[in-house]
Subunit: 224 residues, 2 copies
């Protein structure tokens, strides 16, 4: 093993795996130590407490999970079509690389909102302002505006923009959150399900296109 690999990084990755597997309450410092191949006391040397270690991991994970999402949703230079395709593609790829991420984030956020909400807000600019001088989240303003414009000029079908965006996110994320249950339902093995997810990107793009641009010709011909 390369000793040049910083020990604190090794610990962090081990902790990430254990926390994602078992959650904060279920994780054991001993298990993290084993996974990192070091002693339990060293954990406390690098990260003073379990809570501190957890927050370090969670902060990074939130960043990985939210930054691509937020960036693409807000980007002022993307057209509506490109924004949607970019979002779906980039998100599925991120999640294929970190399959356990979304469930972990939702789990902890849900069981302890007060403790973690500020960590989320650090990566979601604009949500903090409760001043209500804007009716909608500024993060979605551009996206929603494009959909509204499209509906006005007839290039888009009628949708509730927020419901539409939520549907897009749902189709991308839920297959990872519900993985064990869906695998059971579809009777798919581990590798088989991975392939299924990899094919999902273009399928979602097609669905979104039909919802929003039904009156136009499909971009691709039939594929089945």
């Amino acid at each position: 093993m390369n000793k040049d690999n910083q020990t604190d990084q090794i610990i962090l990755e081990a902790a990430r795996r254990v926390f994602q597997r078992s959650g904060y309450g279920g994780a054991r410092m001993q298990e993290i130590a084993n996974e990192a191949g070091i002693n339990k006391a060293s954990l406390h040397y690098y990260y003073r407490s379990k809570e501190k270690l957890f927050q370090t991991v969670y902060r990074q994970d939130i960043k990985v999970f939210l930054v691509p999402l937020v960036g693409i949703l807000r980007d002022p230079f993307l057209t509506l079509e490109v924004r949607m395709r970019t979002f779906v593609g980039s998100y599925i790829k991120t999640l294929l690389k970190n399959p356990g991420l979304p469930l972990f984030i939702m789990q902890e956020l849900s069981s302890n909102p007060g403790r973690l909400i500020s960590l989320v807000e650090d990566h979601v600019p604009g949500v903090r302002s409760r001043s209500a001088d804007e009716e909608e989240s500024p993060m979605l303003a551009v996206f929603i505006g494009q959909i509204r414009n499209g509906m006005d000029d007839g290039s888009c079908n009628k949708v509730d923009p927020e419901q539409f965006i939520l549907s897009m996110i749902s189709m991308c994320v839920f297959p990872f959150v519900g993985r064990p249950l869906i695998r059971l339902l579809l009777k798919k093995g581990e590798q088989e399900y991975r392939d299924f997810l990899a094919r999902r990107e273009e399928e979602i793009n097609e669905y979104l296109h039909r919802i929003l641009f039904r009156n136009h010709q499909p971009i691709d011909g039939p594929r089945y």
Copy 2:
């Protein structure tokens, strides 16, 4: 307080709330006792161990979560359109009544698949047979068959049936799993988000219709 209310039922409901809030690892027997308004020792009198209590709760929750889903997916007498609308309507309603259910189920199933998979299989007939004499889950066979028929006779657009069904489930369930994050993203208060979810049923129905029946006229006129 009415003493006729069976104590074991009161305990069960208290345990359900605490387990859903904190997960198995995070739940404390003391907290459950407080929530039930009784002594900690009485928990062990009615349910010998934490594990036993948890399994009782989890078995019921899985049933509530899966039985409507499975029933509608398998029902041999529903047309394709009615099956979809029934599924979405019944599912959103179930989840509005039990908002914490899906995250709880996925969480525990994911952190300890081996321990709970058999509880799921009890309520999902057919998944157990690994004999592979059918290529697909028998539970989805009818549904998938209807979609295939529709594609063959031209009444349906081309979709991957499994991807389509997964998308339907995703749009229904994810808004509940990701509740805290979505609320932040959309800047919605608790009641506001409930209203948003209540309106979601017809929106999803419209989306599914556009995906699968795009060439037909929409059932309703524009609503926005």
